[in-house]
Symmetry: C3
Subunit: 476 residues, 3 copies
């Protein structure tokens, strides 16, 4: 049986109506090759600190680390071990990349119609030049083809960075990180790439009083050179680290919380909680730990007003919902499940204090799409608030359409933060930006075709959403 051809439709994601499609093309064309601004990724900076770094083999690059992909295979009963996902107990997992690839290919049908399938096809076709569809029969041929490419210097991380047209790429880094790779890139590499860290203090501001928190506090103390003995020294250590991140090029922080609650605790009570937490587990986890996290969001907003780091908030994900999987394979395996969030009441204390300040830029993300039109778009009336692009499960053709359709009427286009690819899957970056640009062009084309906007305004909005919005919002 002959392999099926893999082809990307040049008009993909545009409305099939010929009039709208024509307008969408017209809007997309001048923006499709703009440089990529990547203000929020989970790419490993080590890929860029050494000139001869490599992505490894096709399975190491594409299958094993991508939880979007492994979660789907797992849902159909394929053990994560068969996909090479390491076990926390160092138990046996599949090590043969060709076997992993074959398992993946045999089940590739599962990704039909999903954004993962779309991005994979985009990477196969546009990045690697594969021209047949992946399935059980073409698995080996495609593996060989990609493996060959990955061995060539044209497919090193730095080469792809250039080929993808990346202008700047921000990684995500814990507060206690020494940013060694960033330091190496900036000081020693002589390389022109623009790789920047992002300050992510989740481990020291959430779950106060747990043993893991105390470990993170020790690491923070060590990294900052400040002995953390009380809340005041904790705050100084955080300020010191933010300062260091800024020196290493950071322009933003990132905060993951279950609920977007903000609150200011009484200094005395705060100090007593903090000291107790340093010594022993705090008594009332469900209350004091939440209040502490809520308080720290306020503190972070205060610091952002002082040091100018843009504050990103990613709330509403119940992390590691599947304990069997996280105990066996660690965190970030595709089982972070969204919950309802309440921005209107949760963020009120923070916005009361900092929402009218031009010094703060607060970029809000959500997995609860109901909040798009109900809360997030109305909240952009605050000068500090910008809306992040569709996140995670919603970074998809349908998800982007829902986002624009629900936020743009109330927020306008110029309160949006542009696009984040938010990925650890490096070869998917151009495909993800391209989906965003195509979906924006399509939304705008539909507005033009229905007389809501004219092409002049649509063209300006298109340019902004494709490129300017991310640069401006993230102060890049």
């Amino acid at each position: 049986m002959a392999a099926k051809r893999l082809e990307m439709n040049p008009d993909r994601l545009f409305d099939p109506d010929p009039a709208v499609r024509g307008l969408a093309r017209e809007l997309y064309e001048p923006n499709k090759d703009r440089p990529l601004v990547c203000p929020h990724t989970h790419v490993d900076p080590n890929l860029f600190s050494e000139p001869n770094a490599s992505f490894g083999n096709p399975s190491e690059m594409i299958v094993t680390p991508d939880h979007y992909l492994t979660r789907m295979l797992y849902s159909h009963g394929i053990p994560l071990e068969d996909l090479g996902v390491p076990r926390t107990d160092c138990g046996k997992v599949e090590r043969d990349p060709r076997k992993i690839w074959q398992t993946f290919a045999d089940n590739y049908q599962l990704f039909a119609g999903t954004p993962t399938g779309y991005w994979l096809n985009h990477a196969f076709s546009e990045v690697f030049g594969v021209d047949v569809k992946l399935d059980g029969e073409t698995a080996t041929e495609i593996y060989d083809h990609i493996e060959g490419k990955l061995k060539s210097p044209e497919f090193s991380p730095r080469a792809l960075y250039d080929r993808f047209g990346i202008e700047v790429l921000c990684t995500t880094d814990p507060a206690a990180s020494d940013l060694g790779s960033h330091d190496a890139i900036r000081k020693y590499s002589g390389w022109h790439g623009n790789i920047r860290p992002t300050f992510r203090p989740d481990k020291v501001v959430n779950n106060v009083g747990t043993p893991e928190w105390r470990t993170s506090i020790m690491e923070l103390g060590r990294a900052s050179g400040i002995e953390i003995a009380d809340y005041g020294s904790f705050v100084r250590a955080l300020e010191q680290r933010r300062q260091y991140f800024r020196q290493m090029g950071a322009t933003a922080t990132d905060h993951a919380v279950l609920t977007p609650c903000t609150d200011e605790m009484h200094p005395g009570y705060l100090e007593s909680i903090f000291k107790k937490a340093l010594g022993v587990r705090v008594d009332d986890v469900s209350n004091d730990t939440r209040r502490f996290s809520a308080h720290m969001l306020m503190e972070m907003a205060r610091m952002s007003c002082d040091d100018g780091l843009v504050m990103q908030l990613h709330p509403g994900s119940y992390r590691n919902h599947n304990p069997a999987v996280s105990e066996r394979h660690g965190p970030d395996r595709g089982f972070d499940i969204p919950v309802q969030v309440d921005f209107t009441q949760g963020l009120k204390p923070l916005l009361d204090k900092y929402g009218n300040s031009k010094a703060l830029t607060l970029v809000l993300f959500t997995l609860d799409e109901d909040t798009y039109s109900r809360e997030l778009a109305p909240l952009t009336a605050y000068p500090a608030v910008k809306l992040g692009p569709p996140w995670w499960f919603h970074d998809s053709p349908n998800g982007i359409a829902r986002y624009l359709e629900r936020v743009a009427e109330t927020a306008g286009f110029y309160n949006l933060a542009g696009f984040n690819d938010d990925t650890r899957a490096f070869p998917s970056i151009p495909g993800r930006h391209d989906v965003w640009r195509r979906c924006c062009a399509n939304y705008l084309a539909q507005r033009v075709a229905t007389g809501v906007m004219d092409m002049e305004d649509a063209g300006k909005a298109m340019e902004y959403l494709s490129y300017g919005a991310a640069k401006e919002t993230y102060r890049l």
Copy 2:
């Protein structure tokens, strides 16, 4: 005035764009006549246990029992009595089916643009061969026409079962049912139809401690032949009934709860609640009854792992919201109103314990469409979880479009459970399946037209959604 013609557009529910419409037709055509798999209905099995059973007159068949229809008429001030809906106090209601039909016809305009109107037109046209629109003037003519048909052997339940191309049809039956009709169909009828029961234990697991619960427990004890004196004997009785249902062909259970909370109670406390409830009303209804229901969902999942019955969960409906109507006319009169649900946190205990098991298939339904993309599609990463089709108010052209648009990107097509018609209105069954198939074809055609999938993958998904998914999910 000449009566208006009733015609079904052969391209109905397909995108008007000619390119998409063509693709939709191509996907629909080979699937439109596939056998109907009906894993979840409220059809009365008595219709099939006797060869000479009849649907009665047109009003008895179409108007009086269908709460989708009576709720709309009632909303415009028409008393349920005028539609022949019996009163709990045996008070007078309209008995003349022609008067009921005339009231219905005079108000038929109210159903314009609703799925009920669509299904009715489909049944009139495709099942009964009516070719004029129903209104006050055509009421008698159409009544006479349908009445004539219903008297012919070609319109007996068994004949329509065959004509509709039903492959299997599952009814919904209380835990204490003797399944007499099912027994009759299987043992004595000599009829080839495949009618199966579904185990629905709501009455014995919800509202613990109420007089109605105690009555249901007595019935359960009688049916199982097990004296229910404590929690242990209660569980044995349930296991016995499940075993009996399986012998009668059941492959699934069904559970209706207000909230999808799951929880495991301490055995000692559980036993004390249970014993108290057997004797007197439990003290704290709002707490212990909920916890008991939550516990029983866990127990049911455990039993499903043991006996292989697929577990269906229908949460989030506030049943009998209108007490005036339910006191006067009993339950299921169109006043079950949805509430918000939280699957992510509610189901966590159950999924922690059974979600990774291949022995369990848990089919989740929702009336809270916000959970489609926020919770349900992400939860399909659990091997046990499948998503049921749009339920109740959402089993409609717009509702199916919203469902596919929001779940298919994250869940893929192969974590969906196919279609359920979920109806007591037998003549609407082919129309409902046809809506689903058309809407699936249309969604897939739009993906193909926008370059998200190719026709090969769309064709496979279409076949699965039309037929294979329900068979596979329900182990039929």
Copy 3:
């Protein structure tokens, strides 16, 4: 640089597909010029009580009072002072209308693709005959043009009332208002316009026990001529005012609450709360004030059953979310942010008691679009319940499309209350009604094109939604 032409596409808001567009046109055409029924506005009745009233200059008419517009400019860092918005401390604000207009025009780009931008363009083009796009360069020319128009008698409020084809317009008035302007219009003006008040008692039923509440109670006592010494006299005063509003032409009441909770308090407890509140702040604001508001909704429904005033409920808006702005500039400045609401459980006590009564018409509005399909459409099964049109942020092309798409299948078209423009921006009224009519025509055209309805039924529904629904629902 030549100014860009401003043109309104005659087919705007219609689906670009030629077949659907043709049907939409056919449905729209006979309804586009129907009289405007405006049962819920925030227009100032003073505009109509004097024959020589004027809208003032273009900035006074269009920019300063419209919080839809000022909130967007404020979000981009433009102080409300620069837009002429008065300060509560009488501090300095921009007084030069041409400077205000220039600031507005320089930032007009921000409104691209928003309903505000659409309505402004509609008013510029259709009401004022402006034919160039507003921007920094055309600002003065357009200001001069509009200023000239506003000085002519053809642009007086009464003249525009006629030119817009308004049949009836209801204002919103506090319970203690003497309705002086309404009295003047009815008794002395000799003018044919139909301006009616709406009874809005928010200040006397919410926030019980605050100093503001006590002030409002005193005003209510004075207006009604009833000394309010206890709950009984409070109720009599309200009844008296409702009677007076009815004499002045009112057919409806309006109620804004944070949550749509309803509840009946024990008379003794109610009396004790009320008496305490008259004297001092009630102790437990978060509980008793909420219960009092919930109780008063029940009382208002009871009064509506007695006096026939249609009851409008606007829940779910967190009013004046930004205290810095409301302290500086007063309420209604664009910072009322929606929250989640629960109609199903909240309204149950009210619906239990009055939901089946034909004497009550309860029009429900929401800012929480999730409730459209989940709660509101199902609740229309109650004879008393009608659904208000999309409110506030959702009164927009996308918002109306979402509304119809989610409610019409379950509620049908004849349980909808038609359109409300709900505006204080008088020149936007024809544009807003036109958007509604176009979006309804488009929704119906799509149903016809996909075989869900025929043109006869669509035409009837279109006429109802355009005109009859509001008249009938509001008993006008």
